[in-house]
Structures are given as C-alpha cells and as structure tokens.
Symmetry: none
C-alpha cells in the first residue's frame, strides 16, 4: 500500500494485550502492516482487538514467534528502541533519522520494542545495528510502548510522503488593486460614521487597519463580504440624510 511494506514492527515480550492492540492501531494509521510478536504474554485477546479499534486486520496477520531470531531472520536492518542509557553505546538514531534511513532503502527492516517494564535486553540489542531513542523529558521518559511506536511510525509516514505538494489555497486571494479599492471604501465609510474626521484622521489609524487585513491575506470572496458590510453601513447613513 505504501512504500513502508518492508518495515516490520516487532513487539518483544509485551505484557499487556491492550498495548498490542494499541500498537496495531498506531501502525495502521501510519501505513504499517507487518507486525511480529515475540513471546507475548497473552495473544490473541479480546482486549487487543478492542484497543485495535479497527486495525484488527493487522492483528489477524501478525505472526507469533517464540524467540527474537526467528522474528527477524529475513531482516537486513534491525533497530532496537531504548529509553535507558546503555553501558555499551550502540550507534544511535532519533525517529527522524531512523525514518530517513528506512525510507532510503527497500531492504527488509525491523524495529524492535521491548517489554513494558524492562525494555529490550542487552541480548536483544546485540542483534541490532542501531539503537533508536525518542527525544523526551529526561525526568520522565516513560513512554507507553504503543505511544512510542506511534511517534516512530509517524516519522516513517512523513518521510515516506516526503515533499508533499504544498497545500493549494482553497480560493483565489484578493489582489493588490482589490485591496486598495477596499481600503478606499473603508476610509470613506469610516469618515461617514465619523470614526475618522478632520480632527482625527491620523494616517496611522488607517495604517493599523491595513496591517490587520494585509496580515489576514483575504480571499476575494471574503473581501466581497467585507465590502457588503461597508455598503450596508453606507445605506444606513444615506437613510439619515
């Protein structure tokens, strides 16, 4: 479906089935479909399906492995997530660099997430080329496993989508001539209601008003509405005369 089909998510020793469901949901929102579970405590489970909230196809296709080596056997690149500092430093990636790395190649890759309490063991990290760390509050780095996966998957999706076409303005913008004509209309009306008059015609007031509407970058249709308001004011003034 996307160019992320070569990326496998591997949940190792996950304790809470709800987290497996939430992980499947997080994956599917970002176009990931390849889920492997290594020795989950409870699987399959109704709680996982409930938390998957529509991503039960990802759960249904998940493969369960008894050990990590079989889950990553066909992967050319293995990346382990970790919150803990490690005594032996692995080459580190942040989620953005990880996404750039993975979208630059179609080699099969795995991203490993460890058990909720302990994280990946050193034995698991020994099988990784990189350690992935999510930048976060050093005083509270306890990301939920599905939340961590959501961030990693989001960066993958953004990288895979790279350089999306810039958002088109929804409607044509007013041009400078139209804006000038509007400002003349506004100035005229403000004199009509005596907000501006001989004693108080400070050019700086009109300048302030210009700033506001220039900043708003009006669509033509919006300009039309504003001029309709000015016309309505002028009609009231004419009734008075």
């Amino acid at each position: 479906m996307t160019c992320l089909s070569h990326v496998r998510i591997v949940l190792v020793g996950t304790t809470h089935p709800g987290n497996i469901g939430a992980a499947a949901r997080a994956m599917k929102t970002m176009g990931l479909t390849d889920l492997a579970l290594v020795a989950p405590r409870v699987f399959p489970s109704a709680e996982a399906v409930a938390r998957a909230a529509g991503a039960d196809d990802v759960l249904a296709e998940a493969r369960v492995h008894q050990d990590l080596p079989s889950a990553i056997a066909d992967c050319a690149l293995v990346i382990g997530t970790s919150a803990r500092p490690r005594t032996i430093p692995w080459p580190q990636l942040d989620p953005r660099a990880c996404a750039e790395l993975l979208t630059a190649s179609s080699a099969r890759a795995a991203i490993l997430f460890g058990p909720e309490q302990s994280g990946l063991s050193n034995e698991a990290l020994d099988r990784c080329q990189f350690v992935l760390r999510i930048p976060c509050n050093p005083r509270f780095s306890s990301l939920n496993v599905a939340a961590a996966l959501q961030v990693v998957a989001y960066e993958l999706w953004v990288a895979a989508e790279r350089a999306p076409p810039p958002p088109q303005p929804s409607a044509p913008l007013a041009n400078a001539a139209q804006m000038e004509s509007f400002y003349q209309h506004l100035d005229q009306t403000l004199h009509g209601i005596r907000f501006l008059h001989e004693k108080k015609s400070s050019p700086s007031l009109m300048r302030r008003l210009r700033r506001i509407f220039n900043r708003a970058r009006l669509e033509q249709e919006e300009l039309h509405i504003l001029r309709g308001i000015l016309n309505a004011v002028q009609r009231q003034l004419n009734r008075q005369e």
Copy 2:
C-alpha cells in the same frame, strides 16, 4: 522546566477516562504540564491514574471546565486538531509547523483535542486560529486521542530543544475571551445595520468573518480600534432612532 510552559492541552468531551490518563502520560514525557479538561465524562478516575503511569501530578493539577470558552479564555493562540475534512477550510498546520509556531512565541496557546468518536465540533473550531492535522494513512486515520497528543507533543519537544528562546511579542495579542466579546459586538452591529437579519443570518457568514480575524491574530490595541469602529456605527444608528 522547559520553554513549553505556555502551551496548554485541552481535552474536550473526552469519553474514556483511560485516555485522559494516557494523555497526561504523553504530555509529561514531552515536558508539557498544563492540562485542561472540558466536560470530561468521568473525572477523576482510578483508570486515568493507572494509565497515567506516574504522570498523576499532571492529572492532579488538571483544571476541569464546564465549557470550552472558560478553558481558553486567557489564550492568545488556539489550535484545534481535526481528522475530518471541513467544508470551510481553516488555515492548516501539521505537527511540525505547529511546533515551530508555538516555540517561536511565548504567548499562551491552547491545543484542543475533541471527543473520541466525533472530534471537535464546528463551534469549537470557530474559536481556533488554526486546524492541526496529523499526516496519516487516509484509509485509516483513526488515531487514538492520546496517541495523537503524543505525536504533537513529541514535535513540540523536538522544536523546543532546537529553538532559541522565543522573542517577546512586540505587543500583547487579544485573548480568546476578548475575541469572543468582539464577535458578539460585531454580530450585534451587523444586525443593527441590517447586514444580517432574520432572512439572512446565516451562521456561515459569521464563521467566515471569524476566520478572517482569527487568521489576523489581532493585537489588543488593534481589537480596541475595531471596537471603536463598531461603536461609531452604533452611535450613528442611535441618532437615527
């Protein structure tokens, strides 16, 4: 602790207390502490504390509001998250652009997350200057609310870590309460001049006008000028009676 203390997370009408706890946890991992809850279905709750997993200080300091206006009254910038396409397009941000915007200023800002099933109402979005959309799989865009918050908060953390200290705004911006009061004044005046009336009081017209002025991000002094104009119109109307 971080330069994110001016950013408030507002959960509107959250149905599941577990999501409130997971949201608090997601916030704390990324250095956010200001949580407001608008009409939560269940709060406080043991389930929220359990899912907060150590972020119970964020829950304990959360303020509960009966309605959205009181939760954002002091905010100069209000951003609503949305997965749905809207008929009237608001200016859109993705999480990275949102994080850049919020870390470039120290003005108080709110990011709103709607109810799990329905998302933010149009009435809530009418109070927003921007709509925030998380890039995701268009065929399955159902992000859990705490997962969406995790992504947004992660981008804020990353931006805050990179950003130089925010420059002080040159002039204080109008807050949400002041803007609401202005919109009431505008609505009243537009009825006064019969630009709006029984046959033509389409709420979409007021919505278009809100979009313009929300987009302009008015300074308090500019708001004062605009209200002076409305007062001048009303004085003219009173002379007629």
